[in-house]
């Protein structure tokens, strides 16, 4: 039993590797079939004016970024295709490290993209409050620089929040939206934040939330024809994910069975007696 337990992690790694190497079954899809998320995101983006200013709060964490990365890249490509002027900002150091990599990738793939990097702003919630009043952007084009200096985030036509465990859509809803006259907000966050964020979607404070890999895949499919939206990143491997989930369910079921079985045995003996 001890040997089996020690070999279990290696077995899991081998199983996931085999799942990754095998061809994807045709009936196994990641995109949520009944998801209206893609429609909601597209409707929010369609409502923007021409050459919109989009503030992107980029604060994912390293532990969950692989989950949302395909959707993030698809959304950024979609925004640039719509000639949006992106104003990028971080309030967490992890988000800064990840954003620097994304900016390098975007600059390499799109020379005409207008991106203004506000940099790392210290202070977490306090930083968001300060940015909602004024957002110094010395490297921005003159008109946009004046707009951001005078109105802060309120100068934007849309807010996009790429969230993680520390700073995410909830923080933006709490600190920024009450100060900028309810700008539309689109959020991308890992699945673990879904229970926390769904009430904001229901209340209309968040206009569209890509909160699961299925939602992300559905949105990515909807913008597949957009240059750069789907070409340079791969979705999570469906078969490997399914195998991993089955292992997880089996382990949890076994643990639950160990708790329940003694009680059932005692109950059975009592009935026989």
């Amino acid at each position: 039993m001890g040997l089996l337990l020690r070999a279990a992690p290696l077995g899991l790694l081998l199983l996931l590797s085999v799942g990754w190497l095998l061809p994807q079954p045709s009936g196994l899809t990641l995109a949520a079939r009944a998801s209206d998320i893609a429609l909601r995101v597209e409707a929010t983006l369609d409502a923007m004016p021409e050459s919109p200013v989009v503030v992107v709060g980029f604060d994912p964490d390293i532990g969950t970024y692989p989950e949302i990365r395909p959707a993030v890249r698809a959304l950024l490509a979609d925004l640039l295709e719509r000639e949006a002027r992106l104003v990028l900002v971080n309030v967490t150091p992890e988000g800064r490290a990840l954003l620097l990599a994304e900016i390098g990738r975007l600059r390499a793939s799109s020379e005409r993209a207008v991106m203004v990097d506000l940099g790392f702003v210290a202070g977490a919630e306090a930083a968001l409050v300060a940015l909602s009043r004024t957002a110094p952007a010395p490297d921005a084009p003159v008109a946009l620089r004046a707009q951001l200096a005078a109105d802060g985030i309120a100068a934007a036509d849309l807010i996009v929040v790429v969230g993680g465990n520390e700073i995410g859509p909830r923080t933006w809803v709490e600190q920024v939206l009450p100060r900028v006259d309810q700008l539309p907000l689109v959020a991308i966050s890992p699945t673990v934040l879904l229970p926390e964020l769904l009430p904001y979607v229901e209340s209309g404070q968040v206009d569209a939330l890509i909160g699961t890999p299925g939602d992300g895949a559905a949105y990515r499919e909807s913008v597949a024809s957009t240059p750069g939206a789907a070409a340079d990143d791969r979705l999570v491997d469906r078969l490997a994910l399914l195998l991993g989930l089955l292992v997880g369910i089996a382990v949890l079921g076994q643990a639950l069975g160990e708790r329940i079985l003694p009680g059932l045995r005692i109950g059975g003996r009592g009935e026989r007696a």
């Binding site: 790694l13 969950t64 692989p66 989950e67 977490a124 600190q175 890999p213």
Partner: protein, 214 residues
């Protein structure tokens, strides 16, 4: 992305470093603790270095020192900020009563913003959305009643000590069960997130590093 036999360029080197770090971390899963421990120290050191660099290049120099040097007379708030930075940096050598000042200001202001935001941005709008209205439809009313009932049951589960009636005990047990079900659901989401991370790393090792299946 680079494969196993590509020419040795900067991105190839980065891929190799990342692959070795991934193998060391996965080795920790298989029982190799020493190299895993070193990788944790390496991560802590790199994160600390990055934080320090970020604090100097993105915060202290452009937002504190440069404005002070340009116009030293008019920004008293920045002088106060400089004193607080000095107190924080000198924490190992200064009395605790003095070094507690910048820490207290940081914690207090963060708590104030978080609390105010939670009330204005979450509590009030969510209550306004959930609350039952005379002109609301049956579904909205049912949702409102259900939300209120679940909130009440969960709150009763936090009652400890004191005399209780049978009804309150049942309500408290139900609240605890609801809380555990909620936590279970949340752990399920967490499992999915971490599983995706593991599959992503396996994809990185097999695809980007070894060039298999590309």
């Amino acid at each position: 992305m680079t494969g196993f036999f590509d020419g040795l360029q900067a991105d190839t080197l980065a891929t190799w470093v990342a692959a070795l770090a991934t193998l060391v971390v996965l080795g920790g899963l298989l029982g190799e603790r020493r190299a895993f421990g070193w990788s944790q120290h390496l991560l802590a050191g790199l994160v600390t270095g990055f934080l320090g660099l970020l604090a100097i290049t993105d915060v202290i120099v452009p937002r504190l020192l440069v404005p002070l040097l340009e116009d030293p007379g008019s920004r008293i708030d920045l002088w106060a900020g400089l004193v607080l930075v000095g107190l924080t940096a000198g924490a190992p050598w200064l009395p605790r009563g003095i070094t507690a000042v910048p820490v207290s200001i940081a914690i207090g202001s963060l708590a104030a913003f978080a609390l105010g935001g939670a009330v204005v941005g979450t509590l009030l709008p969510q209550v306004a959305t959930t609350i039952a209205r005379p002109d609301g439809d049956a579904v909205q009313t049912a949702v409102a009643i259900g939300s209120a009932a679940i909130s009440a049951l969960v709150l009763t589960s936090f009652l400890h000590g004191g005399p209780r009636g049978r009804l309150l005990s049942v309500a408290s047990a139900s609240g605890r069960s609801l809380l555990v079900i909620g936590l279970g659901g949340w752990l399920g989401y967490l499992l999915l997130s971490r599983l995706i991370l593991l599959v992503d790393r396996i994809g990185f090792l097999l695809g980007d590093w070894l060039g298999v299946g590309l």
